[in-house]
């Protein structure tokens, strides 16, 4: 045996050998611990969360992939409801302005034979309805027509428009939905403007004269254009994930959340490009179906889903009060109320998310409106807030004080209160349409909602992701925050000064907006908008937004009265806001 190997063997014998072996195993144990913990602590995707922390990874992924939009081909609706206004009838007997509208399904598919259900939501304040031909079911407005054949002639309806609009506004939308069974709805939108009826093409002096003109103007074109083929267009599929940790969802608080979402009290306003139409004709709203809201937790014990739908009763409010832009209309969305959602009696969760999915047909807009920034507002209706005293208190704080504060400090943020009308809206929450799935575009990710107490420092995490820049692009960062002080940018380790150099690819570039909430900041809801702009191409920008709830927060006691709505409202914003 070689001398060196004899030395090794002898080293493992005797007291010295035992000591050597002990030390060896001891060091091996320490090395094993080091290896295991390093492995467990590995952050190979450089997102600040250890890869073995599966719940943390899931939460981070959901938070950062908070908005995912893509364009994909979808068939347009089989039916296209339509409203036409044909003329003004001045009989001399009426003090109000009497108008004649035609309600119909326009241009159905040749194979389309299933009877429809129409629901007509007339302009707010309209009266003295007179239907010719097909009569609606008793009751209304809204007026419901069931089992209407696909080839049914248009339903003429004559009614009085109010001399002044509701809420002293002049813009009075009306809607007509058409639905096959329980299938997706298609909705026509017509905007009536009080005081502009003289711009209508004709003025009739009798009902008979108006009806004759209506039949010539409305029915004939419908017959001529029948027989279209169903089109397939690129639509936007926008998914929004909002993750919240540290606020427990129990069965009771889950039920309170979905009850609020399904009530009339909460809705979201989204401003979309106005679909093309003639002055005398309605526009087809660009949301037909496939819009969902889901609430689930990261442990898989909670899985609720409901369809989103229009809130026709809120359109008048939106058309008169929110900032109006030429070529854009406001639509109101809420959660479908036809069947009540019931939360399961699953284990409570401290890590959960709301997922919303919206299909939006903007095929009529230039380049499908790619890159557009849609304005979104979250609103609730009612002077008397829903829920119990604790919930009303928190909701009241959230909207009253926060919005007043926002209106004072950020007059350009289009944030207003409408308490006189019994409706309050908060925003804006910009929603930018960037296809992040089918194309390698750079994006600004990481919209979040956070709760904080004054004097504390808040960190709003975002990251630049996707794209490919060679040489690296310089990205300017900007923000608009109605509250807070000492705002500065950080890369997670040190303060940085924009622009940041960004090459795209992987890993993402993490950026953090850090600020301090000053003492005395009013409790409530605030929004912070962040803009990242490519320095050499100012038109190439991305927008993100965060919601901050300022105030004391503690998880509600089990079985108590949870003041949860304060956090749910941002969630409503998120889900529909993303649309």
């Amino acid at each position: 045996m070689k001398r060196w190997s004899l030395g090794v063997v002898s080293a493992f014998r005797g007291k010295a050998g035992a000591a050597f072996q002990t030390a060896f195993y001891l060091l091996l144990t320490a090395g094993l611990v080091f290896a295991l913990m390093t492995l467990a602590a590995c952050d190979c995707n450089e997102n600040g969360v250890e890869d073995c922390d599966s719940a943390g990874e899931a939460a981070h992924a959901a938070e950062m992939a908070s908005r995912m939009a893509r364009e994909y081909p979808q068939p347009t609706p089989e039916v296209r409801p339509r409203i036409q206004k044909t003329g003004l009838v001045q009989t001399g007997a009426l003090t109000a302005t009497r108008v004649l509208h035609g309600l119909m399904v326009f241009d159905p598919l040749p194979s389309y034979t299933t009877p429809l259900t129409y629901t007509w939501y007339p302009p707010a304040g309209a009266s003295n309805f007179e239907f010719f031909g097909k009569q609606p079911e008793p009751g209304g407005p809204p007026f419901v027509f069931r089992n209407v054949p696909a080839n049914n002639a248009a339903v003429p309806v004559m009614f009085d428009l109010p001399e002044t609009g509701a809420y002293d506004g002049e813009r009075l939308p009306e809607l007509l939905t058409a639905q096959q069974g329980a299938g997706p709805q298609a909705t026509a939108y017509m905007l009536n403007t009080v005081g502009q009826t003289q711009s209508l093409p004709e003025v009739f002096t009798s009902v008979a004269e108006a009806l004759a003109a209506f039949r010539a103007a409305v029915l004939l074109p419908r017959a001529e254009t029948a027989g279209r083929a169903q089109a397939t267009v690129d639509m936007w599929a926008i998914d929004q994930y909002f993750t919240r940790e540290g606020i427990t969802v129990t069965t009771a608080t889950c039920q309170q959340t979905v009850d609020l979402l399904q009530s009339d009290a909460a809705f979201v306003a989204v401003q979309v490009p106005e679909p093309p139409h003639e002055d005398y004709d309605s526009a087809l709203l660009p949301i037909y179906g496939d819009s969902v809201l889901a609430l689930d937790d990261l442990d898989g014990g909670l899985d609720l889903e409901a369809a989103a739908t229009f809130r026709p009763e809120q359109f008048t409010f939106l058309a008169n009060t929110l900032p109006q832009e030429e070529g854009k209309i406001w639509i109101a969305l809420g959660v479908q109320q036809t069947s009540a959602l019931t939360c399961p009696t699953a284990a409570p969760s401290g890590a959960w998310e709301i997922h919303t999915g919206l299909t939006l047909d903007l095929s009529y807009a230039t380049e499908q409106c790619a890159g557009c920034v849609l304005d979104v507002q979250v609103c609730y209706e009612g002077q008397e807030l829903p829920g119990n005293a604790a919930q009303r208190f928190v909701m009241g704080q959230a909207f009253d004080s926060a919005l007043e504060q926002l209106a004072e400090t950020a007059p350009n943020a289009s944030v207003q209160t409408y308490r006189d009308w019994g409706v309050t809206c908060a925003g804006p929450l910009p929603l930018q349409l960037v296809d992040t799935v089918t194309s390698n575009q750079w994006v600004l990710e990481g919209d979040s909602a956070q709760a904080i107490t004054p004097t504390w420092t808040i960190t709003l995490p975002h990251r630049l992701m996707g794209g490919d820049f060679s040489p690296p692009a310089l990205i300017d960062l900007d923000f608009a925050a109605p509250i807070g002080a000492n705002w500065h940018w950080s890369n997670g380790a040190a303060t940085i000064t924009p622009p940041v150099s960004y090459a795209g690819g992987w890993p993402p570039t993490n950026i953090y907006l850090v600020g301090t909430i000053p003492a005395g900041t009013a409790a409530g809801l605030y929004t912070v908008n962040i803009t990242a702009t490519q320095q050499t191409t100012p038109t190439d920008f991305r927008i993100g937004s965060d919601i901050i709830w300022v105030g004391e927060w503690s998880p509600p006691p089990e079985g108590g009265e949870p003041p949860q709505y304060a956090m749910y409202l941002p969630l409503i914003v998120r889900m529909q806001g993303a649309r």
Partner: protein, 230 residues
């Protein structure tokens, strides 16, 4: 840094354990068995994560919330491994455990410094005088309960208490081990109220960790009664 502190904890804890044995002929064997104990503890610590993974893959919801990794799971895994080792070498579990157990809180005390460096096991935000400006795992810096440091201090106190009881209390076989488990579970029960990553409550203010601690305390009590009245 954190991994180095965890390794230091294992080194110091292991050395303290071997120092207490003082039978040099057994030291290599005991040192080698430390590897099994560490592996058992590591597997036990990740039981929650494994259960969550299975739940996700199968779509079967867990009846209660769990943590990915937990020290309670590590204790369970380590204890199971120790029982297996004692059975294999035909030695009394209680006797062996009494010899080694005081080294455990010492190691855990250092290990919590690793948690502090790593940012895990962080505390809930607080405005009390205890608050230190610390991050959570997402990097949100707030005044928080320094739960890692509180836990490290508590573990150190348990270590000292065990040494004192051993020296002056004349404990019977197994009592030192049961005392450690009782003190540790009480500490963990209390600290959970201050944790920022605490699981959601399932019974009043108590969550799964609290209930596990209470179950563990009940088990320790039951075993103590059994051992006292064999």
């Amino acid at each position: 840094m954190a991994s180095a502190l965890y390794a230091l904890a294992a080194l110091v804890g292991g050395a303290a354990y071997l120092y207490r044995v003082r039978r040099s002929e057994l030291l290599p064997l005991l040192a080698r068995n430390l590897l099994w104990l560490i592996l058992g503890g590591f597997l036990g610590a990740n039981l929650g994560g494994a259960a969550m993974l299975v739940s996700r893959l199968t779509g079967a919801a867990l009846p209660f919330a769990l943590k990915d990794t937990s020290i309670l799971g590590a204790l369970l895994g380590g204890t199971a491994t120790a029982l297996w080792l004692c059975r294999r070498y035909a030695v009394s579990f209680w006797s062996a455990a009494d010899q080694g157990i005081p080294a455990l809180p010492l190691a855990l005390s250092i290990g919590r410094l690793g948690c502090f460096a790593r940012g895990c096991c962080y505390g809930a935000p607080t405005a009390s005088w205890l608050g230190l400006y610390l991050p959570d795992r997402a990097g949100n810096w707030l005044p928080r309960y320094p739960t890692q440091l509180l836990s490290a201090a508590a573990n150190l106190l348990i270590f000292l208490a065990l040494l004192a009881v051993e020296r002056y209390g004349r404990p019977r076989e197994g009592e030192l081990t049961r005392l450690f488990f009782a003190l540790f579970l009480l500490k963990r029960f209390g600290i959970e109220f201050l944790r920022g990553d605490a699981l959601p409550a399932v019974l009043g203010p108590l969550n799964t960790t609290h209930l596990t601690c209470l179950a563990g305390l009940a088990l320790v009590g039951a075993v103590s009664l059994t051992q006292r009245n064999p």
